[in-house]
């Protein structure tokens, strides 16, 4: 589904952050990307989602046959990519539900599908908001305005449930969540997981991976994936930190 080859990216007119990253994600898989601060985790998420301010200097990203890096941010979403933001923005005056309706209709138009009826849309809102225990009031309010940290993250997963992406990238979705919110968010993600979609979890901590079991754990360090393993690797990282991997490589 997603094939990243030798990806190099830098901040516009700045330092190189991704330095030859390779990653292959297949349908039905969950990949966790872990790594210390400044290793390039969030840059990877931003580059994949098409955020301005980054320059790809080398490499390619194939997303189900499409050249991902050639697409505008909105067209990446229309092709089925979703990013759950680490810091979701507040948008006063734009209602959560209204903007999702606009988004879903645009996506359907792009895929040459029929518009969603108001009834079907509302039914979907109900299912999706139940999934992350986001009450109806919040889904109707302005996007993230007055939401607590946990509510913002739940709102990201609510949107993911509405948009049903092929590939979802969750950027530090666990950060700032208390144990209850973490459980709700994780259970939501697990219910959305199926054989046709894939998930990339970007995280600092192993604790998220206790709730969402990954098929692969990758260690990102200085802009490259330096080690890949199964879910046990995360436990080892939690216990031993990251330095041993570098030492291992040096040997």
């Amino acid at each position: 589904m997603l094939t990243i080859k030798n990806l190099h990216a830098s901040v516009e007119e700045g330092a190189e952050i991704l330095k030859g990253l390779n990653l292959e994600v297949k349908a039905g898989e969950v990949h966790a990307i872990m790594g210390p601060n400044g290793s390039g985790k969030s840059t990877l998420a931003s580059v994949l989602a098409g955020k301005d301010g980054y320059e790809v200097t080398e490499g390619s990203v194939d997303f189900d046959g499409a050249d991902l890096l050639d697409l505008e941010a909105e067209d990446r979403a229309k092709e089925g990519l979703f990013l759950a933001f680490q810091y979701p923005v507040e948008i006063p005056g734009v209602s959560n539900v209204n903007f999702l309706r606009t988004a879903m209709n645009e996506i359907r138009e792009y895929r040459k599908e029929d518009k969603l009826s108001a009834k079907d849309f509302l039914a979907k809102v109900k299912v999706a908001s139940n999934l992350v225990e986001l009450n109806d009031k919040l889904s109707g309010r302005s996007v993230n305005v007055g939401f607590s940290g946990g509510e913002k993250k739940r709102n990201e997963i609510f949107q993911m449930a509405m948009l049903e992406p092929k590939l979802a990238i969750l950027d530090e979705t666990d950060s700032g969540l208390d144990i209850d919110a973490l459980r709700i968010v994780s259970e939501g993600v697990n219910k959305l997981r199926n054989k046709d979609n894939a998930i990339i979890l970007i995280t600092h901590y192993q604790r998220l991976l206790e709730y969402i079991q990954p098929d692969f754990v990758h260690v990102l360090s200085d802009g490259k994936i330096i080690k890949t393993g199964g879910k046990d690797l995360a436990l080892e990282l939690e216990e031993r930190g990251y330095d041993w991997i570098n030492e291992e490589i040096a040997q």
């Binding site: 229309k78 979703f82 990013l83 988004a103 645009e106």
Partner: protein, 418 residues
């Protein structure tokens, strides 16, 4: 001091039809005009609004008629009063059965009463031209302790090139009464025409007046309006001014609060494109204690358009316990657009709660990206954010039929959906 060599104002009005001399109000206005000049940008009140090239032109007064159905607002169910090029088009107007309201031609307004109400107010050259040479308008009286059964829709149309429309209205709410006025401004084939309108009124004690003004004239019309109101004790005055039309628009709004326990509210939304210039000047003069006022003006300026907001609240020495809020927020959508914002408080009393604020910014790019990342095109993302920004002013228009009309207008003119 400036010496006026040749009087440009008298030159400007020279070809206008000489009105009958029986009106004292007209006579006084004419006399005042002979000593006046048009404002230049050296005058503080007109610093950012340059009228020189417009007042050099000659304008004709031409009576005409239109088809009222082109301007009717569906579902408004209003008294419809039509004014074409400044003339009252009685044949196209409809006054419904309403025992709370009496509508007559502006000539029927009692001049003694009028002069007494407006005593001591400041006039400007445009309001005086209107007063001296007005060609039509209505005097509306809403009767004591009654509520108008229908909104009063004042439909103004400029039809033709190089015309001047001097329309003049007076709205009188007797004590305890309530009414809504909807004033709309339209144009067709109106290149280089000039709407010079005056809307005045008196809101007596415990009466409540709502005005919704919608200016959608073509972007080749000069629009200057002078709105002047006096509020008595316990009264409510609310005006929503929505401006999308005109090449140069000046909304001059002046409310004198002459009693305690009054509430004054002014809201405005202005949307500029191309070379439009939109100027909102407001004054609220608080003379008595225990009154509240609130102002919210929001502008969205694109292309090379410019906006001006100058809102002044005066709290006189004896006016204690006044609460006055003023806010002006603007979004610039292009590098060529600009806004001059000047909220002013002039406070002579010592126990008041007043605040004012003003912002000029761009759309939040983080928010644009967030919406795009969900599959919304950049153009639609910007539209959603602009609509959200201006939406809270449009929310102040409570009349549903009018609100639907405005929403439709925004969708057709700007492609903005609410």
């Amino acid at each position: 001091m400036e010496v006026v060599v040749d009087n440009k104002v008298l030159e400007f009005v020279a070809d206008f039809k000489k009105p009958e001399a029986s009106s004292e109000v007209r006579k006084q206005a004419m006399a005042a005009l002979s000593g006046m000049d048009f404002p230049t940008t050296r005058v503080e009140e007109w610093k950012y609004t340059r009228v020189a090239k417009y007042v050099k032109r000659k304008y004709k007064q031409v009576q005409a008629t239109v088809n009222v159905e082109d301007y009717t607002i569906e579902g408004l169910d209003a008294h419809e009063l039509v004014f074409v090029n400044g003339y009252f088009d009685e044949a196209q107007s409809t006054i419904k059965d309403d025992d709370a309201v009496s509508i007559q031609k502006i000539e029927e307004l009692n001049e003694e009463y009028y002069s007494d109400v407006v005593d001591g107010t400041e006039e400007n050259v445009f309001s005086l031209i209107n007063k001296a040479y007005q060609t039509g308008g209505v005097s509306v009286v809403v009767k004591k302790n009654k509520k108008a059964k229908h909104p009063i829709h004042l439909i103004h149309v400029v039809d033709g090139e190089e015309l001047i429309a001097n329309t003049r209205h007076f709205v009188h709410l007797e004590s305890g009464s309530k009414a809504e006025v909807v004033a709309t401004f339209h144009s067709k084939n109106s290149t280089n025409s000039f709407t010079n309108v005056a809307l005045e009124g008196h809101v007596e004690s415990n009466a409540s007046l709502t005005i919704n003004k919608l200016q959608t004239e073509a972007k080749d019309v000069l629009h200057i309006s002078n709105e002047f109101f006096v509020q008595d004790e316990g009264s409510n005055f609310l005006i929503n001014t929505i401006t999308t039309g005109g090449i140069l628009t000046r909304n001059g709004l002046d409310v004198i609060v002459e009693g305690e326990n009054c509430h004054t509210e002014m809201n405005g939304a202005y949307l500029g494109t191309e070379n439009q210039h939109i100027d909102n000047h407001t004054i609220i003069d608080q003379l008595y204690s225990n009154c509240t006022s609130s102002e919210l003006y929001k502008g969205v300026m694109d292309d090379k358009s410019s906006g001006v907001f100058n809102g002044k609240v005066i709290v006189r020495q004896d006016a204690q316990k006044i609460e006055a809020y003023q806010s002006n927020k603007n979004i610039l959508l292009s590098k060529g657009a600009n806004v001059y914002s000047k909220p002013e408080l002039e406070i002579y009393a010592d126990d008041v709660r007043c605040s004012h604020g003003s912002t000029i910014g761009e759309l939040d790019e983080e928010a644009v990206y967030y919406l795009r990342s969900r599959g919304i095109s950049e153009a639609n993302a910007r539209q959603l954010l602009v609509a959200a920004f201006i939406g809270d002013v449009l929310e102040k228009v409570e009349n549903e039929a009018l609100r639907a009309y405005i929403d439709k207008l925004f969708l057709t003119d700007f492609g903005w959906e609410f």
